[in-house]
Every structure is written in C-alpha cells, then in structure tokens.
C-alpha cells in the first residue's frame, strides 16, 4: 500500500477519530452519542467564526471546542438531567446544530476569511526514513488527534476518574453506593464528548477551508459506527475510522484515475461498509450495560 494512500486515509479519518474519541467517553459513561453529528457541525462552524474573529488557529480551535461542548450541554440537560430518550435527543440536537449553524452563517459577514491550510509538521529523523517517512510528517491537527487519543485511552484505563466513568456506564447504582455521583459523571462525559467532537469538526473545517451548510454530511454517524465497531475502545475506534478513511481515500483515487465507477455507488460505500461491519460484529459486541438507561 502506498504511503500516499495511507496519509490520505489518516487525513480523512482524523475528524472522525476526534469525534469517535468523544463518543467513547459519552457511551462508556452510559449516554448514546447520536449527537456527534451536530457536535461536529457546531465545531466546524465555531472554527470558521473563531478563527475569523480571533485571527488564528488557537481561537478557532477554542471556539470550535466551546460550540461542540455547548451542544453537549444541551444533550446533558435533556438526556441526562431530564431523562429523555438519548437517541431522539441526539437526533434533535443534530437538527438544532444544523439550523443554528445555517442561520448563523447567514447572519455572519459574507466575506469570512477562509481557513488557511496548516503546513505539515515532521518529527525530526523519523520523517527522513525512506518509504514510511511521510507518515511522520502530518498536519498539526492530526498530531493533536493522536495526542487526544492517547489521553483518552490513558484516562479511561489508568485513572480513577476513568474507572468511575466506566463504572457509571456499567452500573451507576454501584457508583452511587461507592459515594460517587453518576449524574455528574455523565454530564461531564457528554460535555467532554461535545468538546472533542467540536474539535473534530474544526479539523474538517480546516481541511475544507471554510464552513458550508451541513458540511459534516453524516460523518458524525460514521464516527458513531466506528466507536461501536471499535468496541468502545479508543484504539479500536481509531482503527475503524482509519478503515473508513481508507475506503474513502480509495474511492477518490478511483475517481481520479477515471476508472468510471458510478459516483453514487462510491458515495454509498462508507455507509454500506458501516452497515456490513456492524452486521458482522453483530451481537458479539457488548455495549456498556447501563447505556441509554436513565438514572434513578
């Protein structure tokens, strides 16, 4: 496999990965992450507005994280505090984000500056290795994605906060009995999920260069499928995202080479792959036991 293709796959996968990492936090705490799509979209919008108003990458990322977290807060209020159905709440915030970002785009000045592409940053020495070298020269936001993945994985497995979070998704009553606050854990996890998915949306906005209506176009749902295929583990989710990235990179490659595959069929591919893989994983995947169950 050529490194170009792998690099393209990583590029396509990184927004999905950030969202999926957030989704892992949310679902391991027991809240279905159907709102990833809206969180990403809000993040992409935040990135475009933040970098235009604040002038630069950092304000853009911060605004993106805040916008994603705001959607997370809505999910937390309705699904965790008011104990509404997680799935329907997620769907509703996705529409809310779609409406709010479209509305916001029309209120914003029409000459929003585009997001300048960020130059790849290489790891010295490693990026000079023949053949695999190009893998070690990635845009800064891809490095950010990798860093977030490591932090989420370490947090979940090696910290007491991570243990409490996982316990909340499996048996919230036990957490309560041990003196913990399952509701607070869930609220924080969902907000953190929004924050990370918002960053994912920001990465997407930087790749495209600007914000457009509904620019996530279902990527949040693919991130959701990835974290399930990846069995609610950050590493597994990341691999699944790279898998989708490869499928899409391959699709672009095929299109560019003019093989003449039907473009609509090719666009269907990620969703068909997701459904097929979910079907294959099937019942063997065990979700967090208390997921979707309202707290007493």
């Amino acid at each position: 496999m050529s490194m170009d293709l792998l690099n393209a796959a990583l590029r396509i996968a990184s927004p999905l990965m950030l969202a999926a990492f957030g989704g892992v936090l949310s679902e391991r705490a027991g809240v279905f992450a159907v709102g990833l799509e809206g969180m990403m979209l809000a993040g992409a919008f935040g990135a475009a507005i933040g970098s235009a108003l604040g002038g630069g990458v950092v304000p853009g990322l911060l605004t993106a994280a805040a916008c994603g977290a705001a959607i997370g807060l809505v999910v937390a209020l309705v699904a965790v505090r008011a104990r509404a159905d997680h799935m329907v709440t997620g769907l509703a915030v996705n529409i809310l984000a779609y409406g709010a970002t479209s509305y916001g785009l029309r209120l914003a000045p029409s000459d929003l500056p585009t997001l300048a592409p960020l130059a790849p940053v290489g790891i010295p020495v490693l990026d000079a290795i023949p053949i695999v070298g190009p893998l070690f020269a990635q845009p800064p936001l891809t490095w950010l994605t990798a860093l977030v993945g490591i932090i989420v994985a370490v947090f979940l497995r090696r910290t007491s906060g991570g243990l409490t979070l996982r316990a909340t998704g499996e048996n919230p009553e036990a957490v309560r009995a041990a003196g913990g606050w399952p509701r607070t854990v869930r609220v924080r996890a969902v907000i953190a999920c929004g924050l990370l998915a918002g960053l994912g949306g920001a990465v997407l906005a930087w790749q495209v260069g600007r914000f457009t209506d509904n620019m996530t176009g279902g990527r949040g749902y693919l991130a959701l499928a990835s974290l399930i295929v990846g069995r609610w583990h950050p590493a597994g989710a990341a691999l699944a995202c790279i898998g989708f990235g490869l499928a899409e990179a391959f699709e672009y490659r095929l299109e560019a080479s003019g093989v003449g595959a039907n473009p609509y069929l090719m666009q269907m591919l990620p969703y068909l792959v997701a459904l097929a893989v979910l079907g294959l994983v099937g019942r063997s995947a065990r979700m967090p036991a208390a997921i979707g169950k309202p707290l007493a």
Binding site: F32, V34, V74, L77, V78, R81, A82, R83, A84, D85, M87, V88, T89, L91, A92, V93, I95, L96, Y98, G99, A100, S102, Y103, R106, L107, G218, Y221, L224, A225, I228, N262, Y264, L265, Q267, M268, Y271, L272, A274, L275, L278, G279, L280, G282, R283, P294
Partner: protein
C-alpha cells in the same frame, strides 16, 4: 403526571420556542411582530395558503403515524427519511411504467408501490436489526444515507429525464397524479393520512397486535413472558411504519412534485419524529401535530420571502420544540 399537567408543560415548551424565535428574528435585524404576522398570513392568509399547508403536512402525518407506532413499541425507528425516499421512488417507477387508462387504477397502483418501497426499505433495516443485532437506530440512520444516494443513482441512470440538467425523472402521466380538491385547493393526501391515523389508533388500542406493541414498549421481558413473539412484533411495527412513510413519499411525488426530484425527502424524516413526539406518541394526536409542523413550515417560508429572515430558523424551532417536549414529558418519571 396528569394529562392536564402534561399539556400545560407542552404549552410552556411551545411558548419558550416562540420566545426564542422572536430573539432570533431580532438578531437577523427584522421586527419579530411583523415577521410573526407575515408567518401567520403566509400560513393561513388565503384558501390557497391553507391548501398548501395541508399538502405540506400530509407526508409528515403519514410518516409520523408510523414513527409513533414504533416509538410506542420501544423501537427507535429513525429511518422515515429513507423510507419516504424509497416510497417516492416506488411510486414514480409504478406511475411511469404502468399506463392504465383509468386514473383511480393508476393512482392506487402508484400509492401501493410507494408503500411497498417504504416497507421494503424498513424491512432491510429490520433484517439487520433482528437478524444481526445491529441497533435499530444505526441500521435506520445509516440506511437513510444509502436510500438518498439510491434515488440519485436511479435519477442519474434509468429513471432520469434525459437532458434535464437536474437529477429528476420525466413528469408523471396525468392519470397517476393525485386529484386537486378545488374547494380547498388541496390534494386528498392529508385526508388519507387522517383516515390512517384513526386506523392506527384503533389498531393500537383495540387489537391484540396493538396491545402487544404497547406491552413491548413498556417492557420487553414482560412481552416475552406474556407470550408475545417479540421479533415478529418488531418486524411488523417497522414494516407498517415503512409502508406509511412510503405512502408519505408517494403522495409528495404524486400530488406535489408530479415527478421524482433529487432530495425531495430531505428533512422529512426528522419532521416525522417531531410529529410523533409532539403527539406524545398517540396516533390520533399526530393529526394536529402534523398540521402544526406543516403550517409552521409554510409560514416560515412566507416569512423568509417577505422579511428575509433565513428559513433555517424553522429547523431550529422544530429542534427546540422537540427538545422542550422531550424534557417536559419525561422529567417526572
């Protein structure tokens, strides 16, 4: 919670949505009072406007009944969007290929083909869910995207109008188009939906099958213990919902568009969910709920034309209403 308390909470939720709307309209630089007046005039100002609102509400009603039935059974079927798309596709294919002389026959065949298309699409999701254990939300959500692309694929290929420049089918033969009721300037689509809403209500409240759905929604173990065949009930509910959504797609194509157009079903799926939730999952109450959503939309479009307030406002209002109703309806359990 008593029904009265619930109704009060929902009224408060709608009022909150209205206040938010006013703030957003003011943010866009328009006068909220004038904008809301423009909205009311656009929705109810003339016979024509009322007819348009009824026609707009019809697919939401048809699909919403099915969503309500599924939700009542605890099946979170988010697939109405794809089922509506396939319903439109089925109706178009039937209308374009059969050319019987008599209109009643052509319309019946096309409507049935639409219902069949929607049911078939829901059946695929049900198969993934029941056969392979894929969560129904993911199965239906992801298949929505496939359905949308499938319609595009057909329009770019065998069903497309040559040289149109858009992804659309040739116009449907007159015999297959729904008749227009001149006195109210509307098609019989909404009336069809209302009849089916009554039928669904009877089904849910008066039949063994409906009882099974309600038990299933209350507790799956209880349904199993009571001897209901869980999988059969789930499959049947999803197929019925698919057929209803497919009918929704069919009436949109046969009554409104008179041809299949790319993206004709965009956003319909969420409105069906909105209708079901606003109706608190009671099939009969989907009738006023669908009217609310449909007239809100025609009103918002008129407001956009006259005042320049972006129509994305409507999406936000729908989402806020759904969230408020969700929060209001469940928080005391």
């Amino acid at each position: 919670m008593t029904p009265a308390a619930l109704a009060r909470r929902i009224a408060i939720a709608l009022l909150a949505a209205l206040v938010i709307a006013c703030v957003l309209i003011a943010l866009a630089g328009a006068s909220p009072v004038q904008a809301l007046l423009a909205m009311a005039a656009g929705a109810f100002g003339s016979t024509q406007a009322i007819g348009a609102g009824l026609d707009r509400s019809a697919p939401y009603l048809l699909a919403g009944i099915g969503v309500a039935l599924c939700f009542r059974a605890g099946i979170i079927n988010i697939g109405a969007e794809g089922q509506i798309a396939l319903g439109g596709l089925g109706a178009t294919m039937a209308a374009l290929s059969f050319r019987p002389g008599n209109a009643a026959e052509a319309i019946t065949v096309a409507l049935l083909a639409g219902a069949l298309g929607g049911a078939a699409w829901a059946g695929l999701a049900a198969l993934l869910h029941l056969g392979r254990g894929v969560h129904e939300v993911l199965a239906t959500l992801l298949s929505n995207f496939v359905a949308l692309l499938l319609v595009q694929l057909m329009l770019a290929g065998p069903l497309g109008e040559p040289g149109a420049g858009f992804l659309q089918s040739p116009p449907l033969p007159r015999a297959a188009r729904l008749p227009l009721w001149q006195s109210i300037d509307a098609h019989p689509s909404f009336a069809l939906g209302a009849v089916l809403a009554v039928a669904a209500s009877i089904l849910l409240r008066r039949t063994r099958f409906g009882f099974g759905l309600r038990v299933l929604g209350a507790s799956r173990p209880a349904a199993r213990y009571a001897g209901f065949r869980e999988k059969w009930l789930v499959a049947a509910a999803m197929l019925i919902a698919g057929a209803l959504a497919g009918l929704g797609g069919a009436v949109e194509v046969l009554g409104q568009r008179h041809r299949l157009v790319e993206g004709f079903s965009l956003g319909f799926g969420f409105r069906a969910v909105t209708v079901a939730l606003l109706a608190l999952l009671h099939p009969l109450a989907t009738i006023p709920a669908a009217l609310f959503v449909g007239f809100l939309e025609t009103g918002a479009q008129a407001m956009q034309r006259q005042m320049g307030v972006p129509s994305a406002l409507m999406l936000m209002l729908e989402a806020v209403t759904v969230l408020a109703v969700l929060a209001a309806a469940r928080s005391e359990r």
